[in-house]
């Protein structure tokens, strides 16, 4: 657990970067600091490992005042992933990852073995161990950055806009990877970003900062989207927040209706039918016109997104309905087999029920 109590940072020139911050980052959770530039989110993060020292107030990591000991020692116990990876260009990937274990006095062999283990954890091929950072792509360097931060197995991980320098596709990849890692490792993570979508995707709780170092709202992402505290948060959360908020509403109780399917190559009736393979996995849609026809692979109409009836949110259900050419969303079971259809009207009805329950609670 990381606790900020009345933490203020005033720089020598008089600027107040962080103003009386009170916040608790829960153990084993991802807490995201988000906000426009100059809002104090990065300063707040860097105060945790004393890269910047607070002017007043107390920061505790797992009950220990961070100002109590030696800063270098404190930092070895806190993983840190920096913008654009910040790898050491003169060290091989393996030695980059082994940095903190070596600083902690492990022997070289142990440290290198640990490095190889972590390369596997973050999905890097072992032969990359002997390369230098300049020989890796941006996304790979970022993975090394994460592996390096995890090397000494610190309970706390600070991530300072780690994915801001890679392209959107790779970024999304890295985000998914981080969530997967976190589900295995359960670290206490503080993650700084200026990207609200990244914050909402990754955060168990999201702290929205406003210019001048004030905390505007600190809530779960679903709450942030549904009930922004004020106009600033509303604006910052951005457009489509109603739609995006559906991603945090469970779809349990959403009715799954009948869906007309036809096996590929079979004869289809008039109108829309979903074409499936032998295992009842969806392949695409077929429009039989007014007289029906053969649902061959060559005349398939691409389908929309699929809705996982077991674990999906209302957002994925609505998107499945809206993106389907027939207007019927395709619901699938966990094994990918078609389980039925979803209509947009049903999603809206389910939302109304969820709202009513929410208001009653």
């Amino acid at each position: 657990m990381i606790e900020f109590r009345d933490v203020t940072k005033r720089f020598p020139d008089g600027t107040v970067a962080v103003d009386a911050l009170n916040l608790t980052a829960e153990t084993g959770r991802i807490t995201v600091f988000v906000g426009p530039s100059g809002c104090g989110k990065t300063t707040s993060l860097r105060m945790v490992n004393r890269m910047i020292e607070p002017s007043s107030g107390v920061i505790e990591v797992d009950g220990q005042d961070i100002m109590a000991g030696d800063p270098a020692e404190l930092r070895r116990g806190i993983g840190y992933v920096i913008q654009a990876a910040g790898l050491f260009p003169h060290r091989t990937i393996r030695d980059n990852i082994a940095t903190v274990p070596m600083l902690l006095g492990w022997n070289k062999k142990q440290a290198r073995e640990r490095a190889m283990e972590l390369m596997e954890t973050v999905g890097l091929a072992p032969e990359m161990g002997s390369r230098y950072p300049a020989q890796l792509s941006g996304g790979q360097q970022q993975r090394v950055g994460v592996a390096r931060a995890l090397a000494a197995d610190p309970p706390v991980l600070l991530m300072d806009e780690p994915f801001s320098a890679v392209d959107p596709v790779v970024r999304e990849n890295l985000q998914d990877e981080l969530l997967r890692l976190q589900s295995e490792l359960g670290k206490t993570i503080v993650f700084v970003t200026h990207d609200i979508d990244e914050a909402i995707k990754l955060g168990d709780r999201v702290a929205v900062f406003r210019t001048g170092g004030h905390l505007a709202q600190y809530d779960e992402p679903g709450v942030l989207l549904a009930r922004p505290a004020d106009d600033f948060v509303d604006n910052f959360v951005g457009r489509d927040r109603g739609y995006r908020g559906l991603g945090f509403v469970s779809s349990s109780g959403l009715p799954v209706g009948e869906l007309r399917t036809v096996e590929v190559g079979g004869s289809a009736p008039e109108g829309w039918s979903l074409v499936v393979d032998r295992e009842r996995r969806p392949l695409g849609w077929h429009h039989g016109g007014t007289a029906g026809g053969t649902a061959g692979e060559e005349n398939l109409v691409p389908g929309g997104s699929l809705y996982d009836a077991g674990s999906g949110s209302l957002r994925s259900a609505l998107d499945a309905a809206l993106s389907s050419p027939s207007g019927q969303g395709v619901a699938v079971a966990a094994d990918g087999r078609v389980s039925g259809s979803i209509s947009a009207d049903d999603v809206l009805a389910a939302l109304a029920v969820a709202r009513r329950d929410d208001a009653a609670a």
Partner: protein, 220 residues
């Protein structure tokens, strides 16, 4: 050519002397310049003082230094220590600025990341800052070494050993072959030392060429 063949032992002695007189100061100068360059890199005031002082030192004519050092050090006029000290002073003067510049050119991102990993300042200097400064330091060393090799010949005019003796002696006794051989040997020595420094620098910085190879990495 016959003069050269007839005086091989003498030439050998002078060459060894020349190497010692010119390269020992480069090593001493480097060792002194690293902490001074570090100091200059740390504070603005330190930088101003160290760099101006080293600039001033470099403007002292070498001949004057050779002549005045015995008075300052209390050594005899032809004590080789005089040459060593004088050339060490020049090397320091040349390298301090180079090292300060090389250290300040290490990217902030890398320095910050090292600090955040838990490097102590001293360990960071040795483990991160200094290795990354090697390419620039080697460039400075090449200038220092070559200038040191040529300055030793100036020392010969006031009586010190080294290949410069072959110029003074050759002029006095009008032996053209001796003068030419001296010039050629100084040039060859400078070229060999320079090449060794370049190769040594490359061997110490394998990562510098890693970036030039095709990025074989598969996109993450």
């Amino acid at each position: 050519m016959t003069w050269v063949l007839g005086n091989l032992p003498l030439i050998g002695d002078l060459l060894v002397q020349h190497i010692v007189f010119s390269l020992v100061p480069v090593v001493i100068g480097l060792v002194l310049a690293i902490p001074l360059g570090w100091l200059a890199d740390r504070t603005r005031a330190g930088r101003t003082i160290v760099i101006n002082l080293s600039g001033l030192l470099y403007t002292i004519p070498s001949l004057a230094l050779f002549v005045f050092l015995p008075a300052i050090l209390g050594t005899s006029i032809l004590d080789p220590i005089n040459v060593i000290v004088a050339l060490s002073v020049y090397t320091v003067a040349l390298l301090v600025r180079t090292i300060a510049d090389a250290l300040s050119a290490v990217p902030d991102l890398v320095v910050n990341s090292a600090t955040a990993m838990g490097f102590t300042p001293a360990r960071r200097f040795v483990g991160v800052d200094l290795p990354l400064a090697i390419p620039v330091i080697v460039a400075g060393l090449r200038v220092a070494a070559v200038s040191s090799i040529s300055l030793v010949t100036v020392g010969s005019t006031v009586g010190f050993g080294g290949l410069g003796r072959m110029f003074t002696d050759g002029f006095q006794r009008v032996i053209t072959a001796e003068i030419i051989a001296g010039i050629v040997l100084v040039l060859v020595l400078a070229l060999v030392v320079d090449t060794l420094l370049v190769q040594g620098g490359k061997a110490l910085t394998p990562w510098e060429r890693a970036g030039e190879t095709v990025r074989r990495g598969v996109e993450a």
